[in-house]
Point group: C2
Chain length 215, copies 2
């Protein structure tokens, strides 16, 4: 089974940057927007619609953790949500089967739990999130601090709800990850090689434990 690193991340925490650099450091494939692009291809829904569904308004009658579909239904919004969730589930599994990889968000830690992924969660304080957002902001689209604060909080609330809906677990809860990293006072470039080393020792131990059980 391929080694997999999953990265849950708060909006504004730099989790995406950390994930990309960690994939480079490990020599792993990197999957983030690639997942949505692949859903677009398979379902014929627009990218915006998929983002809306997978990040904001998922409606599911059989989330990943329930295992069974309780009843059939005719609501087209629910049907489409379900179609997208199923595509996402299949795509993430296919990606992990292809090669070692880093997968960002999308409940990959839960979807790939049989692979014993190295599960990272990236967070930071609000001040740091706002600073990070401002650094990349288009000056023509500048929003007020109050609006930015609200937007960051809203996106992260959506992510938490989405994660809970699909997995039944609490997003960002230390129990569900090998490592929770706070980037508020962290130099991501300097830290990534050491995070990679921690992932390597994890994979060495996990493999060792599996061999031990077989012996």
């Amino acid at each position: 089974m391929n080694q997999v690193i999953t990265i849950g991340r708060e909006f504004g925490s730099g989790g995406k940057e950390l994930a990309r650099k960690l994939a480079d450091e490990m020599g792993f494939a990197y999957y983030d927007d690639e997942i949505v692009n692949e859903i677009v291809k398979r379902t014929n829904f627009s990218e915006d619609y998929i983002h809306m569904i997978v990040e904001k308004r998922p409606v599911l009658y059989h989330p990943f953790h329930a295992g069974v579909r309780f009843f059939s239904h005719a609501d087209p919004h629910v049907e489409r949500s379900q179609q997208i969730a199923s595509a996402q589930y299949a795509i993430i599994h296919e990606m992990a089967e292809k090669s070692p990889c880093v997968v960002v968000g999308r409940c990959a830690d839960y979807i790939l739990r049989e692979n014993t992924p190295y599960r990272i969660f990236v967070c930071s304080d609000m001040e740091s999130k706002m600073r990070r957002y401002r650094a990349d902001e288009d000056p023509n689209d500048r929003i007020s601090d109050k609006e930015l604060f609200r937007q960051i909080r809203r996106v992260n609330k959506d992510r938490a709800q989405y994660y809970h809906l699909y997995t039944g677990l609490r997003w960002g809860d230390r129990e569900n990850y090998e490592l929770c990293i706070n980037t508020s006072h962290m130099d991501i470039d300097a830290a990534v090689p050491h995070i990679a080393e921690l992932a390597r020792t994890f994979f060495a131990t996990a493999t060792g434990q599996e061999s031990g059980e077989e012996a």
Copy 2:
């Protein structure tokens, strides 16, 4: 100001072992039971009584985070709790002033927040906690799985309450730490050098930020 690493830890997570090895790796002083021993010397209370107060039944009318004492009181239990808390507060500050150090538990992350400590929280799943406890257990004092489960849960509940009472914050909440480490599938010996490297990059960044602000 000396570099300080604080380690909050769930009972049974191996946090103490990790802390000791990290102190060795960094060449830092290590403080854990030393704090209680020092309180014994300064207050004349017994070690058992201090453990009971600081870990199980603290009663405070002015916790560390409140800043002021609201009224005087005559309850001797409260007076003694307060005396122990004040001694602990002073001792932890003195230790951090003496040399770079690793401090285990006792709200040191909060008490020393002005020092910008590298704050680590160590957790693990219940199965791993029970396995770890059994490995060190005296065969003559063996307790049932049910009793062990209860004991682990009780100690960790006490720690969470104690931390919340003194700091007003949630114990083990990712926001309050630089790093939350799950030891369930971790080889502590193999991981410690890389955790030390992460702490060093943090201190380099924190120092850099302070110089930057002064410039």
